[in-house]
Symmetry: C2
Amino acid sequence: MRSGSGGHSTAIDVPEADGRSASSKGKLAPGMVAAAPLPSPAGWAKGVAIFDLIFRICAMVAALGAAAAMGTSQESLPFFTQFFQFQAQYDDIPTFQFFVVSMAIVAGYLLLSLPFSIVCIVRPRASGPRFLLLILDLIALTLATGAGGAAAAIVYLAHNGNANTNWLAICQQFGNFCQRISGAVVGSFLAVALLAMIVVLSGIALRGV
Amino acid sequence: MRSGSGGHSTAIDVPEADGRSASSKGKLAPGMVAAAPLPSPAGWAKGVAIFDLIFRICAMVAALGAAAAMGTSQESLPFFTQFFQFQAQYDDIPTFQFFVVSMAIVAGYLLLSLPFSIVCIVRPRASGPRFLLLILDLIALTLATGAGGAAAAIVYLAHNGNANTNWLAICQQFGNFCQRISGAVVGSFLAVALLAMIVVLSGIALRGV
Protein backbone atom coordinates (compact mmCIF):
# COMPACT_ATOMS: atom_id res chain seq x y z
CA MET A 1 0.00 0.00 0.00
CA ARG A 2 2.57 2.53 1.15
CA SER A 3 5.08 1.74 -1.52
CA GLY A 4 2.41 1.99 -4.16
CA SER A 5 1.24 5.48 -3.13
CA GLY A 6 4.14 7.38 -4.64
CA GLY A 7 6.87 6.47 -7.07
CA HIS A 8 9.61 8.52 -5.32
CA SER A 9 9.47 6.89 -1.85
CA THR A 10 12.54 5.26 -0.32
CA ALA A 11 10.82 1.89 0.12
CA ILE A 12 12.29 -0.95 -1.86
CA ASP A 13 9.83 -3.21 -3.62
CA VAL A 14 10.87 -6.83 -3.18
CA PRO A 15 8.82 -9.43 -5.04
CA GLU A 16 7.47 -11.82 -2.40
CA ALA A 17 5.89 -15.20 -2.88
CA ASP A 18 3.31 -15.38 -0.11
CA GLY A 19 2.10 -11.77 -0.25
CA ARG A 20 1.85 -11.53 3.55
CA SER A 21 4.39 -8.75 4.06
CA ALA A 22 3.56 -6.67 0.98
CA SER A 23 3.29 -3.54 3.11
CA SER A 24 6.64 -3.91 4.84
CA LYS A 25 9.02 -1.01 4.31
CA GLY A 26 12.12 -3.12 3.72
CA LYS A 27 13.60 -2.33 7.12
CA LEU A 28 12.19 -5.35 8.95
CA ALA A 29 14.01 -8.64 8.94
CA PRO A 30 12.08 -11.09 6.74
CA GLY A 31 11.25 -13.58 9.50
CA MET A 32 9.92 -11.16 12.09
CA VAL A 33 6.34 -10.70 10.93
CA ALA A 34 5.70 -14.38 10.49
CA ALA A 35 7.65 -15.50 13.55
CA ALA A 36 6.08 -13.15 16.11
CA PRO A 37 2.71 -14.89 16.72
CA LEU A 38 4.07 -18.44 16.61
CA PRO A 39 6.28 -18.81 19.72
CA SER A 40 3.63 -17.36 22.05
CA PRO A 41 1.24 -20.38 22.25
CA ALA A 42 4.15 -22.82 22.13
CA GLY A 43 5.93 -21.05 24.99
CA TRP A 44 2.67 -20.85 26.88
CA ALA A 45 2.11 -24.61 26.44
CA LYS A 46 5.69 -25.17 27.56
CA GLY A 47 5.03 -23.13 30.71
CA VAL A 48 1.94 -25.22 31.41
CA ALA A 49 4.00 -28.39 30.91
CA ILE A 50 6.68 -27.16 33.33
CA PHE A 51 4.04 -26.42 35.98
CA ASP A 52 2.66 -29.91 35.29
CA LEU A 53 6.07 -31.42 36.06
CA ILE A 54 6.46 -29.39 39.27
CA PHE A 55 2.97 -30.30 40.52
CA ARG A 56 3.63 -33.92 39.60
CA ILE A 57 6.80 -34.06 41.71
CA CYS A 58 5.02 -32.36 44.63
CA ALA A 59 2.07 -34.78 44.39
CA MET A 60 4.50 -37.70 44.29
CA VAL A 61 6.22 -36.47 47.46
CA ALA A 62 2.84 -35.94 49.18
CA ALA A 63 1.57 -39.41 48.23
CA LEU A 64 4.82 -41.04 49.26
CA GLY A 65 4.80 -39.16 52.55
CA ALA A 66 1.21 -40.20 53.22
CA ALA A 67 1.99 -43.86 52.49
CA ALA A 68 5.12 -43.75 54.64
CA ALA A 69 3.43 -41.97 57.55
CA MET A 70 0.59 -44.46 57.55
CA GLY A 71 2.83 -47.47 56.98
CA THR A 72 5.15 -46.65 59.87
CA SER A 73 2.41 -45.75 62.34
CA GLN A 74 2.74 -48.08 65.28
CA GLU A 75 2.30 -47.58 68.98
CA SER A 76 2.64 -49.92 71.93
CA LEU A 77 1.19 -48.93 75.26
CA PRO A 78 3.66 -49.02 78.20
CA PHE A 79 1.57 -51.45 80.25
CA PHE A 80 0.72 -55.05 79.41
CA THR A 81 -0.85 -58.09 80.99
CA GLN A 82 0.65 -61.53 81.13
CA PHE A 83 -0.87 -62.63 77.82
CA PHE A 84 -1.48 -59.46 75.94
CA GLN A 85 0.28 -56.28 75.05
CA PHE A 86 -1.79 -53.36 73.86
CA GLN A 87 -0.51 -52.06 70.59
CA ALA A 88 -1.91 -50.43 67.50
CA GLN A 89 -0.50 -50.39 64.00
CA TYR A 90 -1.87 -49.59 60.60
CA ASP A 91 -2.59 -53.17 59.52
CA ASP A 92 -5.04 -53.68 62.35
CA ILE A 93 -7.55 -51.87 60.16
CA PRO A 94 -8.08 -53.04 56.55
CA THR A 95 -8.95 -49.52 55.39
CA PHE A 96 -5.48 -48.35 56.36
CA GLN A 97 -3.90 -51.24 54.45
CA PHE A 98 -5.89 -50.15 51.41
CA PHE A 99 -4.72 -46.59 52.03
CA VAL A 100 -1.04 -47.57 52.11
CA VAL A 101 -1.31 -49.70 48.97
CA SER A 102 -3.27 -47.05 47.06
CA MET A 103 -0.94 -44.22 48.00
CA ALA A 104 2.08 -46.33 47.08
CA ILE A 105 0.49 -47.09 43.69
CA VAL A 106 -0.26 -43.40 43.11
CA ALA A 107 3.29 -42.39 44.07
CA GLY A 108 4.73 -45.09 41.81
CA TYR A 109 2.53 -44.03 38.91
CA LEU A 110 3.55 -40.38 39.38
CA LEU A 111 7.22 -41.40 39.31
CA LEU A 112 6.68 -43.38 36.08
CA SER A 113 4.74 -40.50 34.53
CA LEU A 114 7.63 -38.04 34.93
CA PRO A 115 9.26 -39.00 31.57
CA PHE A 116 5.95 -38.41 29.77
CA SER A 117 5.66 -35.03 31.47
CA ILE A 118 9.18 -34.19 30.30
CA VAL A 119 8.19 -35.23 26.75
CA CYS A 120 5.32 -32.72 27.05
CA ILE A 121 7.84 -30.00 27.97
CA VAL A 122 10.14 -30.83 25.06
CA ARG A 123 7.27 -31.15 22.57
CA PRO A 124 4.49 -28.93 23.94
CA ARG A 125 2.27 -29.47 20.88
CA ALA A 126 2.09 -33.26 21.15
CA SER A 127 -1.46 -33.98 22.30
CA GLY A 128 -1.05 -37.79 22.42
CA PRO A 129 1.05 -38.14 25.62
CA ARG A 130 -0.94 -35.29 27.13
CA PHE A 131 -4.22 -37.13 26.62
CA LEU A 132 -2.75 -40.41 27.91
CA LEU A 133 -1.59 -38.58 31.03
CA LEU A 134 -5.06 -37.03 31.46
CA ILE A 135 -6.74 -40.46 31.61
CA LEU A 136 -4.09 -42.02 33.90
CA ASP A 137 -4.07 -38.94 36.15
CA LEU A 138 -7.81 -39.23 36.47
CA ILE A 139 -7.52 -42.87 37.59
CA ALA A 140 -4.80 -41.91 40.09
CA LEU A 141 -6.96 -39.02 41.33
CA THR A 142 -9.95 -41.30 41.90
CA LEU A 143 -7.82 -43.91 43.66
CA ALA A 144 -6.16 -41.35 45.94
CA THR A 145 -9.47 -39.62 46.73
CA GLY A 146 -11.22 -42.87 47.55
CA ALA A 147 -8.39 -44.05 49.80
CA GLY A 148 -8.11 -40.65 51.47
CA GLY A 149 -11.86 -40.45 52.09
CA ALA A 150 -12.03 -43.96 53.48
CA ALA A 151 -9.07 -43.37 55.80
CA ALA A 152 -10.56 -40.03 56.89
CA ALA A 153 -13.82 -41.74 57.86
CA ILE A 154 -11.95 -44.28 60.02
CA VAL A 155 -9.69 -41.60 61.54
CA TYR A 156 -12.79 -39.57 62.45
CA LEU A 157 -14.23 -42.68 64.08
CA ALA A 158 -10.99 -43.34 65.97
CA HIS A 159 -11.01 -39.78 67.29
CA ASN A 160 -14.69 -39.40 68.13
CA GLY A 161 -16.17 -42.87 68.27
CA ASN A 162 -19.87 -43.39 67.72
CA ALA A 163 -22.24 -43.82 70.62
CA ASN A 164 -25.11 -45.12 68.47
CA THR A 165 -23.19 -48.15 67.27
CA ASN A 166 -21.06 -48.62 70.39
CA TRP A 167 -17.84 -47.98 68.54
CA LEU A 168 -15.53 -46.40 71.11
CA ALA A 169 -12.85 -43.84 70.34
CA ILE A 170 -9.36 -45.30 70.56
CA CYS A 171 -7.41 -42.05 70.43
CA GLN A 172 -7.47 -41.59 74.20
CA GLN A 173 -5.23 -44.64 74.47
CA PHE A 174 -3.26 -44.39 71.24
CA GLY A 175 -2.52 -40.67 70.94
CA ASN A 176 0.65 -40.87 68.87
CA PHE A 177 -0.87 -43.43 66.53
CA CYS A 178 -3.83 -41.14 65.90
CA GLN A 179 -1.59 -38.16 65.24
CA ARG A 180 0.38 -40.18 62.72
CA ILE A 181 -2.66 -41.44 60.81
CA SER A 182 -4.23 -37.97 60.81
CA GLY A 183 -1.05 -36.62 59.24
CA ALA A 184 -1.19 -39.35 56.60
CA VAL A 185 -4.77 -38.36 55.71
CA VAL A 186 -3.74 -34.71 55.39
CA GLY A 187 -0.91 -35.77 53.08
CA SER A 188 -3.31 -37.74 50.91
CA PHE A 189 -5.64 -34.73 50.61
CA LEU A 190 -2.65 -32.62 49.53
CA ALA A 191 -1.86 -35.22 46.86
CA VAL A 192 -5.51 -35.17 45.75
CA ALA A 193 -5.53 -31.38 45.41
CA LEU A 194 -2.29 -31.45 43.38
CA LEU A 195 -3.59 -34.23 41.14
CA ALA A 196 -6.78 -32.26 40.49
CA MET A 197 -4.67 -29.25 39.50
CA ILE A 198 -2.59 -31.50 37.20
CA VAL A 199 -5.79 -32.64 35.46
CA VAL A 200 -6.91 -29.01 35.06
CA LEU A 201 -3.48 -28.17 33.60
CA SER A 202 -3.87 -31.04 31.15
CA GLY A 203 -7.24 -29.56 30.14
CA ILE A 204 -5.62 -26.15 29.62
CA ALA A 205 -2.84 -27.70 27.55
CA LEU A 206 -5.27 -29.74 25.41
CA ARG A 207 -7.36 -26.62 24.87
CA GLY A 208 -4.29 -24.66 23.76
CA VAL A 209 -2.69 -27.36 21.64
CA MET B 1 3.73 -30.68 -10.75
CA ARG B 2 1.40 -32.51 -13.13
CA SER B 3 0.53 -29.52 -15.27
CA GLY B 4 4.17 -28.54 -15.53
CA SER B 5 5.36 -31.95 -16.78
CA GLY B 6 4.17 -31.60 -20.34
CA GLY B 7 2.98 -28.67 -22.40
CA HIS B 8 0.24 -30.61 -24.27
CA SER B 9 -1.76 -31.96 -21.29
CA THR B 10 -5.48 -31.20 -20.92
CA ALA B 11 -5.07 -29.49 -17.53
CA ILE B 12 -6.03 -25.83 -17.42
CA ASP B 13 -3.67 -23.59 -15.52
CA VAL B 14 -5.65 -21.16 -13.39
CA PRO B 15 -3.63 -18.54 -11.49
CA GLU B 16 -4.40 -19.06 -7.81
CA ALA B 17 -3.58 -16.84 -4.84
CA ASP B 18 -2.83 -19.34 -2.08
CA GLY B 19 -1.01 -21.93 -4.16
CA ARG B 20 -2.60 -24.84 -2.28
CA SER B 21 -4.42 -26.37 -5.26
CA ALA B 22 -1.82 -25.69 -7.92
CA SER B 23 -1.95 -29.35 -8.94
CA SER B 24 -5.74 -29.53 -9.35
CA LYS B 25 -6.86 -30.46 -12.81
CA GLY B 26 -9.61 -27.84 -13.09
CA LYS B 27 -12.49 -30.31 -12.60
CA LEU B 28 -12.97 -29.78 -8.86
CA ALA B 29 -15.28 -27.08 -7.60
CA PRO B 30 -13.20 -24.36 -5.93
CA GLY B 31 -14.55 -24.85 -2.39
CA MET B 32 -14.26 -28.63 -2.17
CA VAL B 33 -10.65 -29.02 -1.19
CA ALA B 34 -10.91 -26.59 1.70
CA ALA B 35 -14.41 -27.59 2.82
CA ALA B 36 -13.98 -31.37 2.94
CA PRO B 37 -12.03 -31.72 6.24
CA LEU B 38 -14.08 -29.12 8.13
CA PRO B 39 -17.49 -30.73 8.89
CA SER B 40 -15.96 -34.00 10.09
CA PRO B 41 -14.43 -32.76 13.40
CA ALA B 42 -17.50 -30.60 14.06
CA GLY B 43 -19.87 -33.57 13.76
CA TRP B 44 -17.46 -35.65 15.81
CA ALA B 45 -17.38 -33.00 18.54
CA LYS B 46 -21.18 -32.93 18.44
CA GLY B 47 -21.29 -36.69 18.96
CA VAL B 48 -18.95 -36.36 21.94
CA ALA B 49 -21.19 -33.62 23.35
CA ILE B 50 -24.29 -35.81 22.97
CA PHE B 51 -22.55 -38.66 24.83
CA ASP B 52 -21.57 -36.11 27.47
CA LEU B 53 -25.24 -35.17 27.94
CA ILE B 54 -26.34 -38.83 28.18
CA PHE B 55 -23.60 -39.71 30.71
CA ARG B 56 -24.47 -36.59 32.66
CA ILE B 57 -28.12 -37.57 32.99
CA CYS B 58 -27.15 -41.14 34.00
CA ALA B 59 -24.68 -39.83 36.61
CA MET B 60 -27.36 -37.49 37.96
CA VAL B 61 -29.80 -40.39 38.33
CA ALA B 62 -27.12 -42.53 40.03
CA ALA B 63 -26.14 -39.77 42.46
CA LEU B 64 -29.76 -38.97 43.24
CA GLY B 65 -30.52 -42.66 43.77
CA ALA B 66 -27.53 -43.03 46.09
CA ALA B 67 -28.56 -40.00 48.14
CA ALA B 68 -32.18 -41.19 48.31
CA ALA B 69 -31.27 -44.77 49.22
CA MET B 70 -28.98 -43.59 52.00
CA GLY B 71 -31.33 -40.86 53.21
CA THR B 72 -34.32 -43.19 53.55
CA SER B 73 -32.40 -46.04 55.20
CA GLN B 74 -33.98 -46.65 58.54
CA GLU B 75 -34.70 -49.82 60.50
CA SER B 76 -36.31 -50.45 63.86
CA LEU B 77 -35.87 -53.78 65.53
CA PRO B 78 -39.12 -55.50 66.55
CA PHE B 79 -38.16 -55.79 70.22
CA PHE B 80 -37.65 -52.96 72.70
CA THR B 81 -37.12 -52.39 76.39
CA GLN B 82 -39.08 -50.02 78.57
CA PHE B 83 -36.76 -47.08 77.93
CA PHE B 84 -35.15 -47.80 74.66
CA GLN B 85 -36.04 -48.96 71.18
CA PHE B 86 -33.28 -50.29 68.98
CA GLN B 87 -33.24 -48.51 65.68
CA ALA B 88 -30.70 -47.48 63.08
CA GLN B 89 -30.90 -44.70 60.56
CA TYR B 90 -28.40 -42.87 58.42
CA ASP B 91 -27.94 -39.85 60.68
CA ASP B 92 -26.63 -42.02 63.51
CA ILE B 93 -23.29 -41.95 61.68
CA PRO B 94 -21.82 -38.56 60.61
CA THR B 95 -20.12 -40.12 57.58
CA PHE B 96 -23.50 -41.09 56.16
CA GLN B 97 -24.81 -37.56 56.69
CA PHE B 98 -21.81 -36.29 54.72
CA PHE B 99 -22.55 -38.88 52.05
CA VAL B 100 -26.18 -37.76 51.65
CA VAL B 101 -25.24 -34.07 51.50
CA SER B 102 -22.38 -34.68 49.03
CA MET B 103 -24.45 -36.85 46.72
CA ALA B 104 -27.31 -34.34 46.79
CA ILE B 105 -24.83 -31.56 45.89
CA VAL B 106 -23.39 -33.63 43.04
CA ALA B 107 -26.87 -34.47 41.70
CA GLY B 108 -27.92 -30.81 41.93
CA TYR B 109 -24.76 -29.68 40.18
CA LEU B 110 -25.29 -32.22 37.39
CA LEU B 111 -28.86 -30.96 36.93
CA LEU B 112 -27.63 -27.36 36.71
CA SER B 113 -24.87 -28.37 34.27
CA LEU B 114 -27.32 -29.82 31.74
CA PRO B 115 -27.93 -26.45 29.99
CA PHE B 116 -24.16 -25.98 29.56
CA SER B 117 -23.93 -29.48 28.11
CA ILE B 118 -26.70 -28.61 25.64
CA VAL B 119 -24.80 -25.44 24.70
CA CYS B 120 -21.83 -27.70 23.91
CA ILE B 121 -24.07 -29.77 21.59
CA VAL B 122 -25.39 -26.69 19.78
CA ARG B 123 -21.97 -25.09 19.51
CA PRO B 124 -19.43 -27.95 19.51
CA ARG B 125 -16.49 -25.66 18.87
CA ALA B 126 -17.00 -23.43 21.92
CA SER B 127 -14.17 -24.37 24.28
CA GLY B 128 -15.18 -21.91 27.04
CA PRO B 129 -18.22 -23.77 28.49
CA ARG B 130 -16.42 -27.05 27.87
CA PHE B 131 -13.47 -25.96 30.00
CA LEU B 132 -15.75 -24.59 32.73
CA LEU B 133 -17.55 -27.94 32.81
CA LEU B 134 -14.21 -29.78 33.04
CA ILE B 135 -13.22 -27.92 36.22
CA LEU B 136 -16.65 -28.23 37.86
CA ASP B 137 -16.93 -31.91 36.87
CA LEU B 138 -13.57 -32.51 38.48
CA ILE B 139 -14.76 -30.95 41.75
CA ALA B 140 -17.95 -33.02 41.61
CA LEU B 141 -15.91 -36.15 40.89
CA THR B 142 -13.63 -35.54 43.87
CA LEU B 143 -16.59 -34.84 46.17
CA ALA B 144 -18.47 -37.95 45.05
CA THR B 145 -15.37 -40.16 45.29
CA GLY B 146 -14.48 -38.91 48.76
CA ALA B 147 -18.03 -39.41 50.04
CA GLY B 148 -18.31 -42.84 48.39
CA GLY B 149 -14.96 -43.98 49.79
CA ALA B 150 -15.79 -42.78 53.30
CA ALA B 151 -19.20 -44.45 53.26
CA ALA B 152 -17.66 -47.64 51.88
CA ALA B 153 -15.17 -47.74 54.77
CA ILE B 154 -17.98 -47.43 57.32
CA VAL B 155 -20.19 -49.96 55.48
CA TYR B 156 -17.29 -52.42 55.51
CA LEU B 157 -16.91 -51.83 59.23
CA ALA B 158 -20.65 -52.32 59.79
CA HIS B 159 -20.51 -55.62 57.91
CA ASN B 160 -17.28 -57.04 59.32
CA GLY B 161 -16.48 -55.11 62.46
CA ASN B 162 -12.91 -54.91 63.71
CA ALA B 163 -11.67 -57.14 66.48
CA ASN B 164 -8.48 -55.12 67.10
CA THR B 165 -10.36 -51.97 68.04
CA ASN B 166 -13.43 -53.68 69.56
CA TRP B 167 -15.76 -52.25 66.94
CA LEU B 168 -18.52 -54.82 66.54
CA ALA B 169 -20.38 -55.52 63.31
CA ILE B 170 -23.94 -54.20 63.43
CA CYS B 171 -25.24 -55.94 60.31
CA GLN B 172 -26.30 -59.05 62.20
CA GLN B 173 -28.94 -56.94 63.91
CA PHE B 174 -29.73 -54.41 61.20
CA GLY B 175 -29.74 -56.48 58.01
CA ASN B 176 -32.10 -54.34 55.94
CA PHE B 177 -30.32 -51.17 56.97
CA CYS B 178 -27.01 -52.63 55.85
CA GLN B 179 -28.42 -53.74 52.52
CA ARG B 180 -29.77 -50.26 51.91
CA ILE B 181 -26.51 -48.47 52.72
CA SER B 182 -24.52 -50.97 50.62
CA GLY B 183 -26.78 -50.18 47.67
CA ALA B 184 -26.24 -46.48 48.20
CA VAL B 185 -22.45 -46.98 48.09
CA VAL B 186 -22.74 -48.95 44.85
CA GLY B 187 -24.83 -46.12 43.38
CA SER B 188 -22.19 -43.58 44.36
CA PHE B 189 -19.45 -45.66 42.67
CA LEU B 190 -21.57 -45.77 39.51
CA ALA B 191 -21.87 -41.98 39.64
CA VAL B 192 -18.08 -41.73 40.13
CA ALA B 193 -17.38 -43.94 37.09
CA LEU B 194 -19.77 -41.90 34.93
CA LEU B 195 -18.26 -38.61 36.12
CA ALA B 196 -14.76 -39.88 35.29
CA MET B 197 -15.97 -40.76 31.78
CA ILE B 198 -17.51 -37.29 31.46
CA VAL B 199 -14.14 -35.73 32.33
CA VAL B 200 -12.41 -37.95 29.74
CA LEU B 201 -15.02 -36.88 27.16
CA SER B 202 -14.30 -33.24 28.01
CA GLY B 203 -10.62 -33.97 27.41
CA ILE B 204 -11.42 -35.54 24.02
CA ALA B 205 -13.59 -32.58 23.08
CA LEU B 206 -10.96 -30.03 24.16
CA ARG B 207 -8.35 -31.94 22.18
CA GLY B 208 -10.52 -31.88 19.06
CA VAL B 209 -11.74 -28.28 19.34
